[in-house]
Symmetry: C2
Subunit: 458 residues, 2 copies
């Protein structure tokens, strides 16, 4: 049923064209006004004497300073603002099997920081503050199906990390459930096949980060049965299935575990909170918290007004990137099996020191011109020919926290001459090995998961 | 070669009797004098104004206060002292194959807190402070083999946690390497088969905690080949191999992951440092840091003098338990396959909220008399008949940090009538499923691993 969902775009509810049209129309219908305001003018928010920003209820999230000490990389000590949101939220997709095909109930969701206003999001996207109703608001739609899901209705249920450079050890519960009962279809929701969602993912900024992370955990090959016809699947799709089922690995999982144990033992990462007012290289005013050199990102305060069927307005801080980002996987066939070039990357907010990241993950604006100033493999991916690009799309980060943040997502096929020997923090993994790490907490970072979810099978 | 090591006690180097004799003799030869002293008299240690205890170099470990807030259990907020040792140390066993049998190079190691003085320990037991020579001391014996081990010589290499109630997120690198070169045998070292080590484990307090955690990661069934004869293996041993290779599970791993994700999302654990001088229920004097009600444990300062071939003396704090401990696994055959009754347990120093723990893990002195004051399954394991006890031995905790701490380790076979339905924090796992979690960081706690290592095959 999952394989058929992956191959089917003959959706009796909505054709792919209708879905695209629907999102575009929703984007036209809604007006999102973002007004930069002083932090002191943010209603329901306050600044503590140390410069950190908090919601008056003490919940949702805060912006605080952290002091980072590490022996990884060129800079051993720095301070920066970070989003602290210690609650585990739900990112949930409700699915239903209809005539042997799995349909996902997806939502057209407005987020203030989205570059467009509306993107395709999971059925449920709720922080604990949301669903325990810290607001006076109502419970989020479809919440009850997730809270009451029985083990036999759960397809996937994992704790997964968010951006380690921006969030302090943040994790969400990524969950896919399958229901059999009739589901009331609310106006902002549509049933989609996996193929349709993946096609929308190949357009810029249509499928939000939360959808991508939830779907990344779905190991397609687990659902392949002799009853499934693979007619219509592309050669690349079949080769991805092979990579996801094979035991022919360039390095064993024992080797990878040892490699990662060694790196986690080698590198220290110690973070402590510090005052936002006391971060060298950063200026904290009532208007923004920004670096003196204009690099990386800044914290701004906004007043959000959303005019739709009704008008909603609220204030919040947002993280605004100062530079574009790039996330790229290099893939290469080794003995006939696709392997992914994985990087072990330390980011200051990581739960467990290093996570498995794409081959290249960086802010392009921060990359220097000299070879030694560039991340490993940077030149290779930015100079890849069109024929080498398996995936190439701009993808947004979470619009509830980030303002107009988008990263170029690339999967690049390496040429024959690409070397098998790698620098110490890099390794080759089959898709099967990636999924083995992915099902346990805090191994694959969100940028890697986003790229994994973009793999197309048609 | 590992299977043969598991079945062989015909060690050409040392018979099992000789090994026992050797340890007993070592215990007689050495004199360990532990003298309780004031904290202010501890040479090379000092007390900070907040009451925390630190080594003058700032390294090794410190005793600090933590404030714990959690919605797990009956008490939602408390303060306690904890050992903070943020470095990752080595626990390493060097092995060598001789005539098709794997031999482990084990050490007779003196630790000040041991109930006896000398126990069997891994080849290498070294904190980063040790091996980066914060002391003026020499490098630990055999360190170079571990530092220079090539991937093909590594049998096992995992980061594993220590006691979550006593250590703040402490982890060690558990590593087994296999060498081919000739190894110089230093006086405190002996070659042992796995069978010999396991037999010593069934005596009280002969095999130290570090040995037990390292060996727990070795999934025996991975090394079974058609060339291995299982002659000499017990029926229980063969049934353990079956549990470790089977796919016939009472609950799938997807179910377990979802169960654990749900518990990790449900329970909050927030720890912050606090002053040792400001911990309600605790008294901090210059002589000890202890609870007013005399429960749990206290921190003492000692002067250690070890007289052997030469005399060594130093001061350090130790953790002294006030109550005996009990760690017990219930095992039960479900559809012919042994399953372990696993508990998800929150402890304040855990790296990731909850870890998988034995069925019962508690301080026996802290258990009340009323049914509701007792941990689940407590009565069942303490009232088990002799025939139900597969493992029953006293095992010591790490003598470098704990003073005379021992726990009763039990594996109890459930009777026919034992219920399959369990309370929410409990589940049934095959040994195969346990090993799947064990190879990734921070899933199995050290008490569970200690019991897994005690499984005998002969």
């Amino acid at each position: 049923m999952i394989i058929r969902s992956l191959l089917t775009d003959e959706n009796p509810f909505n054709s792919s064209e209708e879905l695209k049209e629907w999102i575009l129309q929703r984007n036209k219908d809604v007006e999102v006004r973002i007004e930069r305001i002083q932090f002191s003018d943010m209603k329901m928010w306050h600044k503590d004497p140390d410069g950190s920003l908090h919601h008056d209820t003490g919940r949702f999230f805060s912006i605080q300073g952290i002091d980072v000490a590490t022996d990884y990389g060129n800079i051993s000590n720095w301070r920066q603002p970070i989003i602290n949101q210690p609650e585990v939220g739900y990112l949930g997709i409700l699915t239903k099997e209809i005539d042997g095909i799995l349909y996902c109930l997806m939502q057209a969701k407005i987020e203030p920081g989205n570059i467009n206003s509306v993107q395709i999001s999971p059925t449920l996207q709720a922080t604990k503050s949301n669903y325990s109703r810290v607001h006076t608001g109502k419970a989020p739609r479809y919440l009850e199906y997730f809270v009451n899901a029985k083990p036999e209705n759960i397809i996937l249920d994992q704790l997964q990390s968010e951006q380690g450079a921006r969030f302090l050890r943040k994790r969400n519960r990524n969950i896919i459930i399958k229901v059999t009962e009739n589901i009331e279809l609310h106006p902002d929701f549509r049933w989609m096949t996996l193929r349709q969602i993946k096609e929308l993912m190949h357009c810029d900024n249509l499928v939000n980060m939360d959808t991508r992370t939830v779907l990344s955990g779905l190991k397609i090959s687990d659902y392949m049965t002799p009853l499934d016809s693979l007619n219509g699947m592309s050669k690349f799709g079949k080769e991805m299935l092979l990579s996801s089922t094979t035991n022919h690995e360039y390095k064993s999982t024992i080797d990878h575990l040892s490699w990662l144990t060694n790196l986690k033992s080698k590198y220290d990462l110690r973070t402590t909170t510090c005052a936002v007012n006391n971060m060298p290289g950063w200026n904290s005013t009532d208007f923004e918290i920004a670096r003196e050199d204009g690099k990386y990102f800044k914290i701004i305060g906004v007043n959000v007004t959303i005019s739709n069927r009704e008008v909603a307005t609220w204030c919040q801080p947002l993280v605004q990137p100062m530079q574009d980002g790039l996330c790229a996987f290099i893939v290469k066939k080794i003995d006939g099996i696709y392997h992914f070039l994985i990087q072990a990357k330390l980011e200051c907010g990581n739960f467990d020191i290093l996570e498995l990241a794409p081959t290249v993950q960086c802010l392009t604006g921060a990359v220097g011109k000299e070879a030694h100033e560039k991340p490993d493999f940077y030149d290779y991916v930015v100079n890849a020919s069109k024929e080498q690009l398996i995936v190439d799309a701009l993808q947004s980060e979470e619009g509830g926290r980030f303002y107009h943040e988008q990263n170029r997502n690339l999967i690049v096929e390496a040429d024959e001459s690409f070397p098998l020997n790698l620098p110490p923090r890099f390794t080759w993994m089959t898709l099967s090995q990636i999924y083995e790490f992915l099902r346990f907490n805090n191994y694959l970072n969100i940028q890697a998961r986003s790229l994994i979810s973009a793999i197309k099978f048609v």
